[in-house]
């Protein structure tokens, strides 16, 4: 699963630490999600999309092979 959290953060002008605080995880977790090393749980994915005020499908997309 890929995501465009980095792009959305740039649009909203917030840092990884700001996003991490908003959803209640560590900055390292946001970093690994952005670099596609960690797939978040449904709850965390929903929290992240709520921060950006967009539907889940606009932030997270399935890849070939998922």
């Amino acid at each position: 699963m890929k995501n465009n959290i980095r792009v959305e953060r740039a649009i909203k002008n917030i840092t990884q630490a700001d996003l991490a605080d908003a959803v209640g995880v560590s900055r390292q977790t946001i970093n690994t999600i952005e670099s596609n090393k960690y797939v978040p749980s449904t709850v965390l994915a929903l929290k992240i999309s709520r921060v950006f005020g967009k539907p889940l499908e606009e932030i997270f997309m399935l890849e070939e092979g998922d």
């Binding site: 995880v25 560590s26 690994t32 749980s41």
Partner: protein, 147 residues
Amino acid sequence: MKNHFLFPYWCRYLGWGCILAHVPLSILGKAHGITNVLDHGPVNESLFNSEHLFFICTTLLMSAGLFLVAFAREKIEDEQIWQIRLNSLRWAIYINYIILIASLILINDTGHILELNLWVPLAFFIVRFRWIIFRLNKAAGGDAALL
């Protein structure tokens, strides 16, 4: 994320204290000729004799310390930490049973096999868990320079 059955964060330091404290106690006990019951079995069957107290002060202190360090809460305990914790625990059980089976076949010394089983799973768990977190922090630190 709610995580039950984890010790508070400060227990990590208490655990390291126990692990460090068992080293001089072991050296002191051995210098005074007290041997570990795991080495040869109890000589005196009564509880709380010098041999039994030495066992409590060293082996159990070390095991309790490892237990506290392994299961102390992280500062930010999120779902990724929880997943790393579970993966490390699974690997620790694999390694422990590989060593256990190999030692049961190759070594005819149950006392030392028991001693090995006291610390191998927890020590391996701690090393792997901290190593993965260290790598994550390093990667996150490197990326932070680009932001």
